[in-house]
Symmetry: C2
């Protein structure tokens, strides 16, 4: 993506930030906003939830494939998903950035618009309450997100019980399909399937469904590294096994079938909708378990069940599924 | 600094982190520790303080001058100083890291020991409750720190009043002197003045003095970018002017005089203890204002006064002082 105009370096940190944050909105839980040594945020039940996630240029994103807006949107989405996966409502973000001496002010302002746009759409009770801008050789985006449990108990990965229903809220495999489309030599493919590319660039986890599910879910996480790997995390933490029902994943696969065929027909590699659904990350959907006698909350659909087995692993129907996914260092 | 053994890349993220965090201690305010989507932290008065700060290799530090331990220590010190400057007690940190494919596990473990050592020494009520490890071309350390106000009102930069006493707790100029010593061609100089080098590598802000001062201070911040620049921040935010009394800074200058002479005699450049004290950053001491009729709290010594002037600027005695300091992007 091309951005023109002065660099952040040319404007200086203070002026650059002043312009970039001009569009940020404030919320009532922010008692002291950014601008002092630290911000102060209200959490009336006396507990806050905190998580952090980092995106690195040329490792987690490429600036020729993602706009500044996309990256701001995704940084918010991936972090507020972690907060919501605990059953908490996202209320505050701090954003630490490394920019290069070539990063333009226009890019930074587009990034800031992406941050606020994701907040508006996904987590309107949230505010950017702090940040830091540093110089380096590549862009790094490190967001910490904070949430309010509003009196609820946090939903951990460790609470799944044998007999529970395994359910998902949100999409599966679309972000991975979108990435394969973006990376393909035939650039017309990304345009043909822009919806899946959109999930990769600007994921939209159903935050409010996750928060509503908190009162009945026995365990929950957001699918950031792929269904097989994230399901195995619930299995290990809860000391249970998880069975995925292939039949219940067919709907997720079916919508990606055409894209897989188009990609496969234009190269040497075979693309598979099943691989995307089982092992693709970054949809940031919510995977949760619920007692079998509970009506599934809004947005959640059953894709499997929890069973008592010693291996604490994941099965696809009757076959053990080798968890594949993203190791952010060695990948 | 040399570290041998396997790289983080060779071990993989999960094993590398498991080994690195093994020495971390837990505290009672951590309701859910790291390991889930997010941590949960207790703040009994229903408010939390949050700040973030980033350190970038070859911009904010060099791995030949700072050990992993030094960097872990400094990352904690600089962040908990911001929390304490609000009058809050540091209780939780999240640490987002970018490491390179050459970063050794030994370095990461030394870094983790530095984190815990700074917590032990400066903020024993604090715990590392989360983190993220990503891969990139240079090391980046982004820490977010959280504090508990324990029922106190936050101490802002904007509360200074004409007539107030300006006071400092901690050292001035030593970290800047230490940096000049480290960067000098004559490497024996750093050994001769290892105490000032130590302040640069492992600053020790007097956290408990800052927290104790919160009940009487009208404004406070930590001196991260230099006395002149940070004092001007109080002046601007409080719409007052600040007068520094040169006589009261003489003690801070006197201890650095020999180092300035040694450096000057070994090169073309003239080093000045006054420049370090007035404009040197990174001591992370606490600059605060107090009503004139209040006894200064433990650790604080008067270095000036607050006056009503339209310019909202800083004076050294009767002369206006041009604020110099660190712009983290353009420097």
């Amino acid at each position: 993506m091309k951005y023109s105009g002065p660099t952040i370096f040319e404007l200086g940190e203070i002026e650059a930030l002043k312009r970039a944050v001009a569009g940020f909105k404030s919320v009532s839980t922010t008692l002291v906003p950014s601008g002092d040594d630290a911000a102060v945020v209200q959490v009336s039940d006396g507990r806050f939830v905190v998580t952090t996630d980092t995106m690195v240029e040329n490792h987690d994103f490429r600036t020729d494939l993602s706009s500044g807006f996309d990256l701001g949107f995704k940084a918010v989405a991936s972090n507020v998903a972690d907060v919501a996966a605990m059953g908490a409502r996202p209320i505050a973000l701090v954003v630490a950035m490394v920019v290069t001496k070539n990063t333009t002010q226009a890019w930074l302002e587009d990034f800031a618009r992406g941050l606020q746009s994701a907040i508006d759409e996904l987590a309107p009770a949230c505010e950017v309450v702090g940040g830091d801008l540093a110089a380096g050789e590549q862009i790094v985006i490190a967001v910490s997100a904070h949430g309010h449990l509003e009196g609820r108990e946090p939903v951990l990965r460790s609470g799944a019980k044998p007999g529970d229903v395994l359910a998902i809220a949100g999409t599966l495999g679309r972000a991975a399909c979108g990435l394969d489309l973006l990376l393909h030599d035939d650039t017309t493919l990304a345009d043909s399937y822009s919806e899946w590319v959109g999930v990769q660039l600007r994921p939209k986890p159903p935050i409010s469904w996750a928060i509503s599910a908190a009162s009945s879910a026995t365990s929950m996480l957001d699918v950031s590294d792929g269904l097989s790997l994230d399901a195995s995390r619930i299995a290990k933490a809860s000391k249970v096994s998880v069975i995925l029902h292939s039949q219940k994943l067919q709907g997720h696969e079916a919508v990606l079938e055409l894209a897989a065929q188009s990609l496969t027909s234009r190269g040497q590699r075979i693309y598979s909708e099943r691989e995307w659904v089982l092992h693709g990350g970054e949809d940031h959907s919510f995977l949760a378990t619920f007692p079998a006698d509970v009506k599934l909350p809004e947005g959640f659909r059953q894709i499997g069940e929890v069973v008592e087995k010693r291996e604490h692993t994941v099965y696809l129907d009757t076959e053990e599924l080798i968890a594949k996914g993203w190791d952010s260092v060695s990948s």
